[in-house]
């Protein structure tokens, strides 16, 4: 099987991740912070170590302000609903995943906030100038993705961050597709809230993720309960991370995530992108007639700019086949897993002109080889031959 759906979740996970979870489950999986016995303290140490590794990955000096969540959706909801107040204005973009668009749309529909959804140009990037122009005195939050899960384009987060900081608003970045793929610097990029998932490029299991809460942001808790420590207090503690972490954490999952992050740090996050771009070029080069496909702007950036400004994710269509048909053929007859449809980002497909049928997304991961890309290209050649 050739798995080219790493943007949905990385698969398989590295052997080390499986082993770390297995070892942890057998030896130390007690309830962190809920006891003084050494298994509980080991579990707590593991959780805190994972926070420290994430802090290193995101160049962030306050590991205690990294809060674990179920996934990126959970983190985004926590951030959006935890910082916005009635009357706030929010700026977002058409490139957003539903995990950003839907909570915002709901708040706007309920009259809690007003919302500006920025269009993007043919380069599939948000223009920082558009962000600046969209500001109103009520703008409280700018919520954008760092890498679109549909177009694969990297957004100018740093330039946008500076504008947002100047205007004294908060920047929420959806790093679902970028964490573990591109270097992220919380401070330099002026990011106030960073939502990430553990099960994609960070190579951890599903059920892990988190929200990095910068010092300018204060997120109201929406889940209160047991945290271990300070049990006598009648209310939930206000200090991070427990402020946003009620209930027993997913220690098993975090044990796996920790190993995934270690791997990324060992390999060096800056080495990942060049590798993915090279693989995309191999794929495109192995296609007999790349011009037959609709590349949604990616063909030139891959062939002429070495994939500059994008990650190892490309969305395309083959005229004559509906996206779901192409994906079904690749799966059923070539054992190649890709993702067809709208990728939970209907506005992005509206921008591309591919709504409502969507497109086929190919996304690479840590284990993808040149051989995989050539085999995939051969399958596309065979299919396009009968179209």
């Amino acid at each position: 099987m050739i798995y080219l759906d790493h943007a949905a979740t990385s698969f398989p996970k590295p052997e080390r991740v499986f082993r770390a979870m297995d070892d942890f489950a057998r030896t130390s999986a007690a309830n962190p912070g809920r006891g003084g016995h050494h298994r509980a303290t080991e579990a707590e140490a593991m959780v805190e170590d994972t926070r420290r590794l994430l802090a290193r990955l995101f160049c962030f000096s306050k590991p205690e302000r990294i809060v674990f969540t179920l996934n990126a959706t959970d983190a985004l909801n926590m951030a959006i609903k935890g910082v916005l107040k009635p009357g706030d204005h929010v700026i977002t973009s058409v490139l957003e995943h539903n995990s950003v668009s839907r909570p915002l749309n709901r708040l706007a529909a309920d009259g809690v906030i007003t919302l500006t959804r920025l269009e993007v140009g043919s380069d599939h990037r948000i223009d920082p100038g558009d962000v600046a122009r969209a500001f109103t005195p009520a703008t409280r939050l700018v919520a954008i993705t760092q890498v679109s899960n549909v177009t694969g384009t990297i957004q100018p987060v740093e330039a946008i961050g500076k504008i947002v900081r100047d205007k004294n608003a908060l920047l929420l970045v959806d790093a679902a597709q970028s964490a573990g793929v591109i270097p992220i610097t919380m401070g330099a990029a002026c990011i106030d809230l960073l939502a990430f998932t553990g099960h994609k490029a960070l190579l951890g299991p599903t059920g892990t993720g988190g929200l990095v809460v910068g010092e300018r942001a204060n997120v109201m808790p929406w889940r209160e309960g047991g945290t271990g420590g300070d049990t006598s207090s009648p209310v939930h503690p206000g200090a991070y991370p427990h402020r946003l972490e009620g209930g027993t954490p997913n220690v098993m999952g975090l044990a796996g995530l920790r190993e995934g992050i270690r791997l990324i740090l060992e390999r060096g996050v800056e080495s990942i992108l060049p590798c993915e771009r090279r693989l995309l070029a191999v794929f495109q080069g192995a296609l007999k007639d790349a011009g037959r496909f609709h590349w949604y702007g990616a063909d030139k950036t891959i062939s002429e700019q070495g994939g500059e400004g994008r990650v190892g994710l490309v969305t395309l269509n083959l005229p004559g086949f509906a996206p779901a048909e192409l994906a079904a053929i690749l799966d059923g007859q070539f054992d190649i897993a890709v993702r067809a449809g709208l990728h939970c980002a209907p506005y992005a497909h509206g921008h591309l002109g591919t709504f409502p049928d969507g497109a086929v997304r190919i996304s690479l991961g840590w284990q993808t080889t040149e051989e995989d890309m050539k085999t995939a290209a051969a399958a596309f050649n065979e299919i396009s031959g009968v179209a």
Binding site: A322, P323, A324, E325, A328, I329, G332, Q333, R339, A340, G341, L342, H343, C344, P356, D357, G358, I383, V386, A387
Partner: protein
């Protein structure tokens, strides 16, 4: 014939404490029949039958059951009346087609006029693992009027699990097949057919056609068994499988295989269809208006064979990777691994039904 000429003055035989006066006169001819009698009639009127499907077999069965005075008849079907149904689905007429009525609603409306003493309930719903408990609750007996094996295996699981008898019935062309399943007594459907026939090779009424008479025959045989069971004559139930071929002039009762102690359903009581672990799987595709059906039986499809079967019926287009079938407002795209993408609906039940009709399950 002489007995029938006695007409309105017929005396009903009373057994035990039954008062013949309690049996409505409209059932007099049926009560005269010794196999039913007043006692049987009272038992019928206290019974509840669920009909799964209200197409050709279902409309015949329902008409017979409601006229016979079964106390409560529930008709379950999720389809709408179409012009091509009228040739054999005896409860429907052109007005129903014009009104785009759901079959269950149109049938209920007709049957209420036939017999106001019977509680007739038409339910527009898809019978699947998540709805079956609610839809079949309270039934003393289930009649099969479905058009596919997946649904029948589901009924079989339900029947065996809850010990409720059901009567299998199927027809296509001029041929039909029926037998009754009495849980714990007779072989269940999976003792007879361990698994569904191979995908795409079995004829269906939508691909090979069907004539009205064979539907009437099979439905009548099914209802006869139902009447025996409900009127208290379980011992008289036909323990063999009846096979008819009206065009080839063959009518046969064949022995069923014995109950299989290793049968997944009635032997091991592994109700995998009821638990939703078997059968096809419908996935709403990300994107608008299409459902993907995945088979879980590993069956492969011969696209060329399917294309030649469907050629007279639908607009086809394809290549070695897929076959596109345009039917009504839907498009089915089927693949050699048995999966299909059905465009034109967001309802998994509709998608499954179209798949069953044109590809077969």
């Amino acid at each position: 014939m002489l007995a029938f000429q006695l007409g309105e003055t017929v005396m009903m035989k009373s057994k035990d404490n039954l008062n013949s006066a309690e049996v409505p006169h409209r059932y007099s001819r049926q009560v005269l029949f010794a196999g039913i009698g007043a006692e049987g009639q009272v038992a019928l009127s206290a019974s509840s039958v669920a009909l799964v499907g209200c197409g050709a077999l279902g409309t015949f069965q329902a008409s017979l059951l409601v006229r016979a005075g079964v106390g409560s008849v529930r008709l379950i079907d999720r389809d709408f009346v179409e012009e091509s149904n009228l040739q054999r689905q005896i409860l429907f007429d052109e007005q129903d087609v014009r009104e785009l009525l759901p079959k269950a609603v149109a049938a209920e409306r007709k049957l209420r006029q036939v017999n106001s003493l019977v509680k007739v309930e038409g339910v527009v719903a898809d019978v699947n693992p998540s709805t079956i408990d609610r839809l079949l609750a309270g039934a003393d007996l289930i009649l099969d009027a479905t058009d596919n094996f997946e649904a029948r295996f589901l009924l079989n699981d339900y029947s065996v699990k809850h010990s409720i008898p059901w009567v299998y019935g199927a027809c296509v062309g001029a041929e039909g097949l029926t037998f009754a399943i009495l849980p714990r007594e007779t072989p269940c459907l999976r003792c007879v057919f361990e698994s569904a026939p191979a995908a795409g090779v079995s004829p269906t009424c939508d691909t090979a056609g069907v004539i009205g008479p064979v539907v009437g025959c099979v439905a009548s045989l099914q209802v006869s068994e139902a009447l025996k069971i409900l009127a208290g004559h379980r011992a008289l139930v036909n323990r063999r499988i009846t096979r008819i071929d009206l065009w080839g002039n063959r009518l046969a009762c064949v022995d069923l295989p014995p109950r299989n102690p290793e049968c997944a359903c009635c032997g091991r009581r592994d109700f995998s269809y009821l638990e939703g672990a078997m059968g096809s799987e419908a996935t709403t595709l990300c994107g608008r208006n299409s459902i993907q059906i995945n088979r879980r039986d590993g069956a492969k499809l011969d696209l060329a064979a399917l294309a030649s079967r469907l050629a007279p019926l639908a607009k086809l287009e394809g290549n070695r990777f897929l076959l596109k079938i345009a039917v009504d407002e839907y498009q089915l795209t089927v693949f050699p691994d048995g999966r299909a993408v059905i465009s034109g609906t967001t309802d998994p039940g509709v998608a499954k039904s179209i798949y069953a009709r044109y590809v077969g399950v």
